[in-house]
């Protein structure tokens, strides 16, 4: 049992319509010095969120009280760059439980799934609809239904389905992680290891 269970999430959303958001923006390297998984949310998007004197940048979305919620909506190719799981931890620790984009970088996507943040990949058209709806009405709610694999704009009922492999889906719904699985097949792994030449 590793993290929160995820079934249906209904929330307002925070829009970040920038493409290629890399993990150095999500959390800069100088904030990776902790040896415990605590407090990374404080430095989420640090250099977009704060000036060099640590005062908030008024024009960044996380500093705008108009937008809040448990769903972060980002532009294409979200999470590119470094493999730092700290980026997923920062997203989680800030309070997000799902990230929506039209395209995710591989390692970031895997890291999210491993800690219980759901990456939801939608079409570019649906992503634009979400941005338009949230800008038109910041109180607009999205429903992410993991069992049904759908994401819905509740105001209009427009929905799209998303992909997730059945193993990861089961893990997310039950709060299991891969270590639970791997511990159960340790004998099989040890047998395999004896066959490896190096």
């Amino acid at each position: 049992m590793a993290y929160d269970k995820f079934t249906i999430l209904t929330s307002t959303a925070v829009p970040l319509p920038i493409e290629n958001v890399d993990t150095d923006q999500i959390i800069p390297a100088r904030f990776l010095k902790a040896t415990k998984r605590e407090g990374f949310g404080d430095n989420l998007f640090r250099d977009w969120r704060y000036n060099s004197d640590n005062t908030p940048k008024a024009d960044f979305v996380l500093n705008d009280p108009t937008y809040k919620g448990k769903i972060l909506v980002g532009g294409k190719n979200f999470g590119s760059g470094s493999s730092r799981e700290h980026a997923a931890w920062a997203v989680y620790d800030y309070g997000f439980r799902a990230v929506v984009s039209s395209f995710f970088a591989d390692i970031f996507k895997g890291n999210c799934l491993n800690i219980g943040v759901l990456p939801v990949q939608v079409s570019p058209e649906f992503l634009q609809k979400i941005f338009d709806a949230v800008y038109a009405d910041p109180n607009t709610e999205l429903e992410i239904n993991l069992p049904e694999q759908t994401i819905t704009l509740l105001a209009t009922g427009e929905k799209e389905s998303f992909d997730i492999n059945s193993y990861k889906k089961d893990n997310m719904q039950n709060g299991f992680d891969d270590i639970d699985y791997l511990q159960n097949i340790k004998g099989e792994i040890q047998e395999f290891a004896t066959q490896r030449p190096f």
Partner: protein, 472 residues
């Protein structure tokens, strides 16, 4: 059935296939460093788990280490704590540890190959995206998150769906002053920063066949920058000559047996890739980046493209050029340079320093440039001294620092100040990557050398004399 090189190595490491899910994938060799491992060890301890095969994991300190005065205590208490945690965790679980000051210490992707930890046909992971470097030997190597580091420690496996397959062929030969770094930046500029996401790449063609191991490492290192999990090159005589006799390579009968296997590690003639690209090597120029991701690269003699000429949204493009202080249509040649950084897991090996030295030899560092030359490991540092490269550098007004990741990600004190321009041989030009507000132009060691001696972005071909070409 015909198989690709990637299929052969991947399929031989699958412990179990999960219907509708990932493969349980066996890892031969695991590299760890101080930044992405502490929470994994914490996880092990809180679950009461042990390390299944400690001899398959290797620890080195690199991301957070100072590059001067390494004999003194590390000043930053948070960095010092991470280094201490790595050492304690390694000791507690019986893992080999090459900490700060150890003669084998260095950047994880430099020390792996130079000690023979990296082998053809092996699977290698590390909590660092540039683990793709090791694919140069015909290994499957890729970066993982900390949850996966914990999985490997306790089970020697991770759970991964098999990626799709891409082959990138570069035909012909490279022109004057064009290095492996330029080949990689050229490919990324064509495919974009997400063009290979979901794929594992095999690099093939004459250009890679003729390339040195170190050049191949530079190319495979940058695979992640186009979104690929990793990249690999079929092992050949160049590979076998490089690994022979290194500390952790098989010896004697084990070597002969391994060689039999390694010689089978090539893509079958009629194997099929999900995606394939072919480029002409002679069309590649020395490259430089002008924007805030590694896909924003161009031939050094060209002009910065307009928003209409590139893929992606105009707003994102304008934000990127705005950060750099550049404009569409401008030339890069002649742009001012404040810092030059030579080093990193991309270009911190002996050949990179040879190339840099070949161009600065007999010239002087420009007064307006601060140069940080950081060897990838103590072994590289020793080679620089033994080969007389240090004398050339010193004569030209340069100093050599001590090994580590340094200004590539600026976790230590090697930070480029806000607004300043750096020509860097590293791998990422993201906003703030080399320090908050720093502006990075990625390039080869030759382009870095040309900038370091002229003080502006300069086409290295204008400084290269015919007899030094071979070094490049």
């Amino acid at each position: 059935m015909s198989k690709t090189l990637f299929d052969k190595v991947w399929d031989s490491h699958v412990v179990r296939k999960i219907e509708g899910g990932p493969d349980v994938f066996f890892i031969d060799r695991h590299l760890i460093h101080e930044v992405t491992s502490p929470v994994a060890f914490l996880g092990l301890k809180s679950r009461g788990l042990s390390v299944l095969y400690p001899e398959r994991t290797f620890a080195t300190a690199d991301h957070n280490t100072p590059t001067i005065n390494q004999h003194l205590p590390v000043a930053d208490p948070l960095s010092a704590n991470q280094l201490k945690q790595l050492e304690e965790n390694a000791n507690e679980f019986g893992i080999r540890h090459w900490g700060l000051g150890h003669q084998k210490n260095g950047i994880v992707h430099v020390v792996g190959p130079e000690n023979g930890i990296t082998l053809p046909g092996a699977t290698i992971v590390c909590g660092d995206s540039h683990t793709s470097t090791h694919g140069a030997f015909g290994a499957i190597a890729f970066g993982i998150g900390t949850s996966e580091v914990e999985m490997v420690l306790t089970s020697q496996c991770i759970m991964q769906p098999k990626p799709k397959k891409m082959r990138i062929n570069i035909t012909g030969s490279l022109g004057k002053g064009v290095t492996p770094k330029d080949v990689a930046l050229f490919i990324i500029s064509k495919l974009t920063t997400s063009g290979a996401t979901g794929y594992f790449v095999e690099y093939a063609g004459e250009v890679f066949e003729k390339m040195s191991m170190e050049g191949r490492m530079t190319v495979c290192n940058l695979s992640i920058e186009m979104g690929a999990r990793g990249g690999m090159i079929a092992p050949d005589e160049t590979t076998f000559n490089y690994i022979a006799g290194r500390e952790f390579t098989p010896k004697g009968e084990a070597w002969d047996k391994a060689m039999e296997y390694w010689k089978t590690l090539k893509t079958d003639a009629d194997a099929v890739f999900d995606m394939e690209y072919t480029f002409d090597g002679s069309s590649i120029e020395p490259m430089i980046t002008y924007g805030t991701n590694p896909g924003m690269g161009m031939g050094i003699s060209k002009a910065i493209p307009t928003a209409e000429e590139v893929e992606g949204g105009k707003a994102t493009y304008e934000k990127s050029l705005g950060y750099m202080g550049f404009h569409e249509g401008e030339a890069m040649i002649g742009k001012p340079v404040d810092y030059v950084f030579v080093g990193s897991c991309t270009n911190g090996r002996i050949e990179d320093f040879r190339a840099f030295a070949s161009l600065v030899k007999g010239r002087k560092k420009a007064d307006n440039v601060v140069a940080w030359l950081v060897p990838g490991s103590h072994i590289v540092e020793a080679q620089i001294k033994e080969e007389g490269i240090l004398d050339i550098l010193t004569e030209a007004g340069f100093e050599l620092r001590q090994p580590g990741c340094s200004a590539c990600l600026a976790m230590n004190d090697d930070k480029v100040p806000a607004g300043k321009y750096a020509v860097s041989t590293s791998n990422r030009n993201f906003e703030g990557r080399q320090g908050p507000g720093a502006r990075t132009m990625l390039a080869s060691p030759l382009v870095a050398a040309a900038a370091a001696v002229t003080g502006v972005v300069t086409d290295p071909r204008t400084l290269i004399e015919e007899e030094t070409l071979e070094l490049a």
